[in-house]
Symmetry: D2
Subunit: 338 residues, 4 copies
């Protein structure tokens, strides 16, 4: 694969992440996260968020999200999430597995942002014993459709949820792209988010995500929880090292900004050079294009991996590793079919 727009998991590690791993590989270090690399990486995340928090570095975003939700709900309760959110559509039911059957209530909304009226309607439903009532809200920043919530939009969703004493989870798999899209990370704690998944893999790390607990009470026996769930790294330094490399160097932000820039370049090129229109605003690293099945097929046949989403549009996603040349080549390919 020379390059790819099908997924942001196909790029490798950013050089700074690899450098972090190499630097962490000196001599012996305490196991299970009691090492300096882990401590320094956690400090940098707290600094970025301008908040005190418990931080742990785990392997899988799917597990990180599911564990976070299991902290906020009982099995006989449910999570409010956008129906297109990763936890609803792409995690093979992990929230129910880690949460022993916890429910998901899929909500509508443009471009992956939860519609406030729809959420409030669910919150206002009378509770009955034979259904799973909501106990937590899960928001995805940036959304699955490449949009970025404003702080006010998030406040509008979070306040009524907190007012009922429910918890809030933020899936930040693409948090670097949201930050590059103008989202102020220091507002996350202030908004009342209880658990954040601070994304690593899509930002240039190998499989490493940070679970950030602003609500310290949730952190009780957290290491036992993670160990039992298979998300405690014995050689913990290697989970934290890519974050340390990316955050110390600023590559975490720079990579997100580059990915967004490439997405905008791609979007403008497609709109300018083809008859295809965009399905969603391009605020992060993904471009969604309305495209007939035949055109989509021809692109795939020409070797351009890209997938049709539930809203009917075709997604092209950029990463820290996407080059201008690749974008321009794709634009040319789109023009020839469109």
């Amino acid at each position: 694969m020379r390059y790819d727009f099908g997924s942001d998991n196909t790029a490798g590690m950013a050089p700074e992440a690899l450098a972090g791993i190499q630097a962490a590989n000196a001599g012996f270090a305490r196991a299970y996260g009691a090492d300096d690399v882990t401590a320094r990486a956690a400090d940098l995340i707290r600094q970025r968020l301008d908040a005190d928090a418990e931080v742990r570095f785990v392997f899988s975003g799917t597990a990180a999200n599911a564990i976070a939700l299991s902290m906020l709900t009982f099995p006989f309760e449910a999570v409010l999430a956008h129906h297109a959110a990763h936890v609803c559509t792409d995690e093979t039911g992990a929230p129910g597995f880690f949460g022993q059957g916890v429910g998901l209530i899929g909500l509508p909304g443009f471009s992956g942002k939860i519609d406030l009226k729809a959420m409030t309607a669910i919150l206002d439903e009378p509770e009955v014993g034979h259904r799973q009532p909501p106990a937590a809200l899960s928001v995805t920043q940036a959304t699955e459709y490449g949009a970025v919530y404003t702080v006010d939009e998030l406040r509008g969703l979070i306040d009524p949820v907190k007012a009922r004493g429910y918890g809030v989870h933020m899936d930040g798999a693409r948090l670097a792209n949201a930050a590059a899209g103008g989202f102020d990370l220091t507002q996350i704690a202030r908004l009342g988010v209880d658990v954040l998944v601070f994304g690593g893999a899509k930002a240039g790390a190998p499989c490493s995500e940070a679970i950030v607990l602003f609500d310290k009470s949730l952190a009780r026996r957290l290491d036992n929880r993670l160990k039992q769930a298979g998300q405690m790294a014995s050689k913990g330094r290697f989970q934290a090292a890519p974050f340390l490399g990316l955050l110390e160097s600023g590559a975490w932000e720079a990579g997100g900004a580059h990915a967004n820039l490439m997405a905008r370049r791609l979007a403008e090129g497609i709109v300018t050079n083809s008859r295809f229109v965009l399905a969603h605003p391009v605020e992060a690293n993904a471009v969604f294009v309305r495209m007939p099945a035949a055109a989509h097929r021809r692109l795939n046949e020409a070797g351009w991996a890209c997938y049709r989403f539930d809203d009917g549009s075709v997604r092209f996603v950029c990463s820290w590793a996407t080059t201008e040349a690749a974008v321009d080549e794709l634009i040319a390919a789109v023009r020839t079919i469109g």
Copy 2:
């Protein structure tokens, strides 16, 4: 930490594992294990085992063991294991978490090897509805006490289990040490093991273990199972790459052999230079020493991390990274207190 005998998780990555990661980081690759690095690493594992098998690379040995056991049992059944096995004592109940309450039946036996008579007695108990009957056997090779099962010993345990139609899991976290201790890896499939966890982290990889399914029927929808359980790597190549580096270079075997050699050197040095005696045969990479609490404390105070185990002895463990100089320094330290 200059060096450490407290754990084999405190060493870093072997150079060959890191080289594998660096080599894997070229350009784009398909996600979720559909890449060449993963395919080649799986081939090398099948070659080592001289058997056809489904191979997946996961993050955590705890999860790998627990998922393996959940494939072989229902929640209302139990697993036969040595009472000192990692699944019983060091995984925070992960088998019950992934197995929805599956039971563990702890069996006695010298040096971590399951006693055949004790196991048979359990197998022969009449079944009753109010207990969890055995449905699988879990063996650890090398054992928690640094012993290595012979093929005949394993056959003696496995045959009566398979005769009842039950499954067999092998925890190979220290399989490289067992191999260096004389265990023939090509016998694992022939013995009737259904699921093997082929150890990476303790053999010089970062957190990466391979689940090996000899019974292909267990592999149905395996990717769904691993994804839901948070053990499917999006950037799969980086889970497989350390194995590729270690196995292509032979460092997986060499590191295990070196660790065992250092353990024997340490054991001989302690026996020769102190009044302390060994608690278990030294057949792999760990040395267990009978040592009074006061002596143990003095060693710890002198900066030598080492832990007392349930059998009352103190464990010293070596790895691919342990140096002769460190061993000799520890021997000297033991002599001064003993």
Copy 3:
């Protein structure tokens, strides 16, 4: 409460069920279902179904359904069911709790019957690792909307499911009403249903439902499964006794027939005496009426419990205990408001 059309759980026990309990209360009997009452009741169920099967008497239809589905699926798989089925809407996520996160795929269809095209479309979707693929079909007979599947309709749904090697569960909470509606119980096994929940409570028993396993291989260690799940009766005879009373006397069928008759009388009375129309065919013991919110409210205010369903219609449900006088009184009440 003099009488009630809000639920078929508000009626008491049929006299024959109570008589069965009284008769079973003589002297001592073996515990955990090893008694004669249980054996005789199981025989009568096998006789009604004209099939060999393992039969167990459990407490809760919710648990019976969830346990049945857990026998047919893994946590990383999903169950195909009508979106209005009890397992989807009224069991507080029990399938996910007993099934450790197993998914539910809600399908459309008129009057609670699964639409074949919609089901086939799901079956034909390519499998991906990040979603829960279907592994079982759950059908409800009679449906939540008071319809009764024909044998041919069921065959049409079951055959393509079995052709893929998937399992089939039938929720028979209102099986007595389906039988009275013309459904031939002896076809259930022949259609390929693997697990049937043979309804007791709605047919005049207290809380007792029978789990019927036509696929004996699913019955391995069934008592252990039920005991662990809290569905094994210590004084088992009292779970079976109401079935024995209802089935020996024929009251199980007679009660279902009476409930259906009352439902038809109510439906005809409403259609003839008011401007309201029916929302669904009346083939079992429930009547669904299209009724404005104001009219519904006035009925409730007049003391007639009845609930609006997801399809917007208002349900009136009859049971073995519903009297003609009560039906006529309700018809009069509906006339006054409509």
Copy 4:
């Protein structure tokens, strides 16, 4: 079976329990526990305990215990219980099933009473991430070996547990026998028990147990929890009715007292008329006799069901239904073999 000493689940319903069911069967009643019978039975239980509490009537003691423990623990924690407690030995791992893998720490102690020193030693162990630390204590009153804790003994166990902020569960399957043995039920809440299972089946009810929550905060969304777990009775009045009959009439206490009296008569008869000795004090409704295997076999062959327990003694258990004549006949049988 004319009578039986093998189990206290082989007796039928006490007449007062049956009368309660018959009385509850008049007309229609609200479903899911919103009926008068349920309200009155709950009041009588609160009255007996002289405490405010949430009360629910469920089907199974195994489920009641497991659900109670799941309220007090996370899956990565453990429950302290006597190694011979029903939750440890006779519930097929239900605590792990309902508690998603929650651990059980089996403690020693004479006659089923937890040894304080052993419990304190566990409480004082340093916590580590790779084990399940204790989070709750489970006590059984009366114990599995027919002993009755004094209030002081319970206080001694409960205080250090509560001091650490852990929860307390009391398995009262034989609470009526404990009460008859001198245990003051009004002390349960004062001792700090959080969840009590108030036994019905062994006291003359069919399968019905009451979950009593003194800690109201645990009762949040309790109906959702019970419904999901298959322990919510649709026709709730029939779960409560046997309790209402037993408690209104005083038969709950009288039956327990009678069972204890019969046990003492049996114990004295055996000691006086045979060479066999008692293994445990007879403080409730069970008699444990030291008896060689041959003698035990001869008794079984003579038609006297009785089981050997883990401590090697043979148990004879009495109930509300045991007659003096039966006791004397058994004494004669024991004399002939001993």
